[in-house]
Amino acid sequence: MIEVRDLVKNFGEFCAVNHVSFEVSAGRIFGFLGPNGAGKTTTIKMLTTILKPTSGIIRVDGHDPVHEKHQVRSSFGIVFQDPSLDSELTAWENLELHGVLYGVSSNERKQRIEKLLKFVELWDRRKDFVKNFSGGMKRRLEIARALIHVPKVLFLDEPTLGLDPQTRNHIWNYIRLLNKEQNITVFFTTHYMEEAERVADEIAVIDRGKIIAQDTPVTLKEKTHTRSLEDAFIALTGYAIRDEEVSSVDRMRTIGKVWGR
């Protein structure tokens, strides 16, 4: 379903993704793990047509995100690392807008929005503005939104970041259910190793732009002689703390707070 060969992305001198190759077969749940700044989000951006790779080959559902953007875009749903809902619109309006963008017919739209809002248990809040939602509710709404056009692949970039254990548990349950019942391929990143261990069929560990291990959680533990995936992860990537450079979006957020928006 996803095929990546020799993928490279340079930002000036800095090499964010360095000759990365991996494959995700259809119907699998694939965990993409790595410390901060390892190149996870950069890779997702390239897979999802937002960023152009420096070199290498990518196929998502058999299509190339550089030259066949339209086909690739129709094939996946995504939950971004940062919220991407319009908070001035209601839950329903956000999903409606997504449905129209993805060319879902009006009848289908209505049915699917209802079904998905019920699935993520937000049906009762459909007429509420998203700005009044909690972090967990926003995440659930984003997952519902990503499914309206019935994607073949679901990208989740740290979907449970900053949520309480109950909500996290809930979210992974939805995702496993989707994977099982509708055979959706799932590609996710997370910093919560115990989640990855529980959910993923297969895991790739990326560090400093290179994939340093790729296997099932069980084999990874065996290979590193560790008991948990967290220990295996540290054995692979070391103890040093990574600092990410502040992006323009982070700077904007600071300004936004000052402006009270």
Binding site: I50, R73, V100, L101, M252
Partner: protein
């Protein structure tokens, strides 16, 4: 078409739901109308210029539209910050559709703002000469709206954050307003200033509005219309080019 409509509708909904924004952005035009209109009115009349409110009001309407339109365009920067831009960028729709939807929505918002300023002007004593010309005035208001929303789109697509905001205000929006003939007649101004007025797109908008509403055209109805239309087309093209180059 659906895509363009729903994106435009989104801009409208956001505007209509933010009452504070509507009232807030009326402040500046009203201030200019009252302070200049009544402050300079007598002097202007004594100098033989006629009724100053009749002269000023179309300029103030254009101002209201200009400010709202540029900011609607610049909203791209906010959408980038709050993440919604990503949602539209990964959607399987052409970038041109996104730009058109955003621009039409922003223009509709600016047009409504212009109509509200128009009503305020009437309350302040402004009277239009020929009611029959009102549709022409509306067309000009719409053209100004689209033109400057498209300009805002260009700026919003190039900038990554709002650090340059004072720069946009002081070196783009304010000069456009002051050198447009909105506040004073431009027939007898010094040559350098006249050139600034002639190359300023808003001058043609103000002239079109003034011609249709209260006094004669300076550049001519046809010239105003053609200049605004061509510039709108150019800015829409440039806007969608820069928008399509956005990477997150």
């Amino acid at each position: 078409m659906d895509v363009i409509c729903i994106l435009a509708l989104r801009q409208l909904k956001r505007y209509l739901r933010a009452r504070a924004r509507i009232i807030g952005s009326l402040g500046q035009p009203i201030l200019f109308l009252v302070a200049l209109g009544f402050g300079f009115g007598r002097t202007y009349e004594k100098a033989g210029g006629g009724n100053y409110i009749q002269f000023l009001a179309p300029g103030i309407i254009a101002m209201g539209i200009l400010f709202t339109a540029v900011f609607s365009g610049i909203e791209i920067i906010w959408d980038r910050q709050f993440g919604f831009l990503k949602e539209t960028l990964v959607a399987p729709v052409s970038r041109l559709q996104i730009v058109l939807g955003r621009t039409l929505g922003g223009a509709a918002v600016a047009l409504i703002q212009g109509l509200i300023v128009f009503l305020v002007c009437i309350v302040a004593g402004f009277r239009i000469h020929y009611i029959a010309f009102l549709p022409v005035a509306l067309i000009f208001m719409f053209l100004i709206s689209i033109l400057f929303t498209a300009m805002g789109t260009v700026v919003g697509s190039i900038l990554e954050d709002l650090h340059a905001f004072p720069l946009i205000m002081n070196f783009l929006v304010m000069p456009l307003f002051f050198f447009s003939g909105a506040l004073f007649p431009v027939q007898d101004v010094p040559k350098a200033l006249k050139i600034a007025v002639d190359i300023n797109p808003l001058s043609y908008g103000v002239d079109g509005l003034r011609g249709a509403m209260s006094q004669g055209f300076l550049f001519g109805l046809g010239t105003d219309f053609i200049v605004l239309s061509i510039l709108t087309a150019i800015l829409l093209t440039v806007g969608s080019y820069f928008f399509s180059r956005i990477q997150l």
